[in-house]
């Protein structure tokens, strides 16, 4: 098992270096001169030239990339062109908010998805099945930014107009009440996928012989479903959750913008608007790192769940 984990970890390194190269290259060829942005428009050409020299912007692309990688190895992502603070500090200050949002969304998605998926599979062709499948279809087709606006409209604006207070605040961060709407908005599409996968995976498992055997030997239906069927049905669910995590991270950018959530997704958009490229570069790298780590985690989890992988690396 150790060999499997080490192999996956080693495989991650060239991927992440490749990601830094691609992101650096994209940002390098972006319009806007960082020196001009840093100093402001009304600076003399000599002054800008001097700062360009200091910042190393006149070096060839490969040298600049080498310097960037060198800095990255020491945990340095450059400085924000707006505040002048290190990008790592700026990201560090906002990362907990993004993690909280992603965590809340995953919780919403897994709870709703599993419950609806199990209901749909165990009561196939019933009203629960129809309802769950309807939810899965609509949830996957609904743009999350629209869902966000509709929830604000309903629970903040409309509620406030009728009852004198908003049920959930439309912006801000800190309490559980602030988290409810953003987490639902970000988690809904994901919940739709999980519902679908849980349903089809459960249906497949429920048809297996060992399920018939456990029923035949008089096991209660509850135990059959939750003990034998669900555990075996979970493998594809975990894979999908891991794969969809990237979509979730992308969605967090939009969700954070709508709810003025102080995470790195909103910082990314603000960074793009102000052409603050060290911030844009840094946040995208952190997102890619988070995604890669989650994928790795899923792979490792897989190794523990699936005996075939365990057996392969046992020696």
């Amino acid at each position: 098992m150790h060999r499997y984990i080490i192999k996956r970890l080693l495989y991650l390194i060239p991927i992440l270096i490749g990601v830094t190269f691609i992101v650096f290259a994209i940002m390098h060829f972006s319009p806007g001169d960082p020196a001009t942005l840093l100093l402001g428009e009304d600076t003399t050409q000599e002054e800008i030239e001097r700062v360009r020299e200091i910042m190393g912007l006149n070096d060839p692309f490969i040298v600049q990339y080498g310097n960037f990688l060198g800095g990255l190895a020491r945990g340095n992502l450059g400085r924000s062109l707006q505040s002048g603070r290190p990008v790592v500090e700026e990201i560090g200050a906002r990362l907990p908010a993004t993690m909280q949002l992603a965590g809340g969304a995953i919780l919403v998605a897994v709870v709703i998805g599993l419950v609806m998926g199990i209901l749909a599979a165990t009561k196939q062709y019933s009203i629960f099945d129809g309802g769950s499948m309807g939810f899965a279809l609509l949830g996957a087709s609904m743009p999350n930014f629209w869902l966000g606006l509709m929830m604000i409209l309903l629970f903040s604006v409309y509620w406030n107009n009728n009852f004198g207070y908003p049920l959930f605040p439309s912006s801000g961060y800190g309490t559980l009440r602030h988290l409810v709407m953003p987490a639902i908005v970000l988690g809904t599409a994901h919940a739709a996928y999980i519902t679908r996968i849980t349903r089809s995976s459960m249906l497949e498992v429920l048809r297996q012989d060992y399920i018939r055997t456990s029923r035949a030997k008089g096991m209660s239906e509850r135990k059959v479903v939750y003990y034998h069927a669900l555990w075996n049905a979970l493998i594809p669910v975990i894979t999908i959750t891991g794969l969809q995590f990237g979509v979730l991270l992308g969605g967090s950018v939009v969700t954070e913008t709508i709810f003025a959530w102080p995470g790195i997704g909103r910082m990314l958009i603000q960074g793009i608007r102000t052409q603050n490229y060290p911030i844009v570069q840094g946040t995208i790298l952190v997102f890619a790192l988070m995604f890669s780590l989650i994928t790795l985690l899923v792979d490792i989890l897989y190794g523990f769940i699936d005996p075939r992988i365990k057996a392969k690396y046992k020696s």
Binding site: P14, I15, L16, G18, V19, I22, V23, I26, M27, F29, S30, P31, L137, L138, A140, S141, M142, P143, N144, F145, W146, L147, L149, M150, I152, L153, V157, R199, S200, L203, E204, G246, V247, L249, G250, G251, V253, V254, T257, I258, L268, I269, I272, R273, V280, I284, F287, A288, F291, S292, T295
Partner: protein
């Protein structure tokens, strides 16, 4: 006779057998497959509903100037932010424009975005995947590692980075979202090529001296068509959501273009005073994406009935 020669001879023999088989009923076989798919698709009521919806949306988009009651940018300061009424079915916006008309014109943009971005993904991804799968070895390794790297960056974020580098515009938006969908198709086509490559008819074609390009285009691609078609249909819906999300964030079309995401972004500014401005463009996006998803799912079930539960 060395083993390679044996293989070739064996391949030829099997190839001849295959030719023999095809010669018996050449056309009926290919027509039969798609007729069967169509027959199964027709039985799936939900998929048929999706198909009707798509055709309807396409007609609306093509004939937008005839369908829409007003023009794309007809401002009227006498009726600013008016709620839905008999006059303006879905209300008016902050410049007194008819929301209904703008959404109808917006369907042209969104459907075009879906089609072009997916085409970019299919073409580039298809070529990369075919090369990787057909030649294998080092080229395969190089291409697939590159794809792995791209896949490590979440799609929407890659598109955001590309748009911010290229500058926000509708064209750049389509390029960015298109490039972000390349890895998906590259992997799909590669897998499909890998499984098709092992067939005898490919060996036969090689023995007959067909060029690699000829084999890929004439023999391998037709066999990859089904999974790509399913993925492309589903991807069109996803691309419309991603693109409208970028527009919503201000990284896409410029005003007064009635792109649905941009309409939503306008609606957000007037959320407290004019709920209709944000509500209806979102409904339009949802219906369109739903239609693509229904057709895509239906096609998948029709092409591979085993997958259906």
């Amino acid at each position: 006779m060395d083993s390679k020669e044996k293989n070739i001879r064996g391949g030829l023999k099997r190839g001849n057998a295959a030719v023999e088989e095809v010669r018996v009923k050449p056309e009926k076989k290919t027509r039969g497959k798609w007729a069967e798919v169509w027959r199964r698709l027709k039985k799936n009521k939900v998929a048929v509903a999706g198909l009707f919806l798509l055709v309807f949306l396409a007609i609306v988009a093509v004939f937008a100037p005839l369908v829409a009651p007003e023009g794309i940018d007809d401002q009227n300061y006498g009726r600013i932010l008016e709620p839905p009424s008999g006059e303006n079915l879905l209300g008016t916006d902050n410049l007194g424009r008819d929301v209904f008309s703008r959404i109808i014109y917006g369907s042209r943009i969104s459907l075009t975005i879906g089609f072009i971005t997916t085409s970019i993904g299919v073409v580039i991804g298809g070529i990369l995947g075919s090369i990787a799968g057909y030649y294998g070895g080092r080229i395969d390794n190089l291409i697939m590692r590159f794809i792995d790297i791209i896949l490590a960056i979440p799609g929407l974020l890659l598109a955001i980075a590309l748009v911010s580098a290229l500058g926000p515009s509708l064209t750049n938006l389509m390029i960015a979202v298109g490039i972000a969908s390349v890895p998906q198709f590259a992997r799909l086509v590669r897998a499909s090529v890998l499984s098709t490559k092992e067939n005898e008819f490919i060996e036969a074609a090689q023995c007959l001296g067909a060029s690699d390009l000829h084999i890929i285009v004439k023999h391998i691609w037709p066999n990859s068509f089904a999974p790509v078609l399913v993925q492309a249909t589903l991807r069109m819906g996803a691309a419309i959501v991603v693109a409208s999300g970028l527009s919503f964030l201000g990284l896409g079309s410029e005003p007064p273009t009635p792109e649905w995401g941009a309409l939503l972004s306008d609606g957000r500014r007037f959320l407290r005073d004019a709920w209709w401005m944000a509500t209806f463009p979102g409904v339009a996006i949802m219906i369109t994406v739903l239609a693509f998803n229904l057709v895509g799912d239906g096609l998948r079930d029709a092409l591979d009935p085993r997958l259906k539960d």
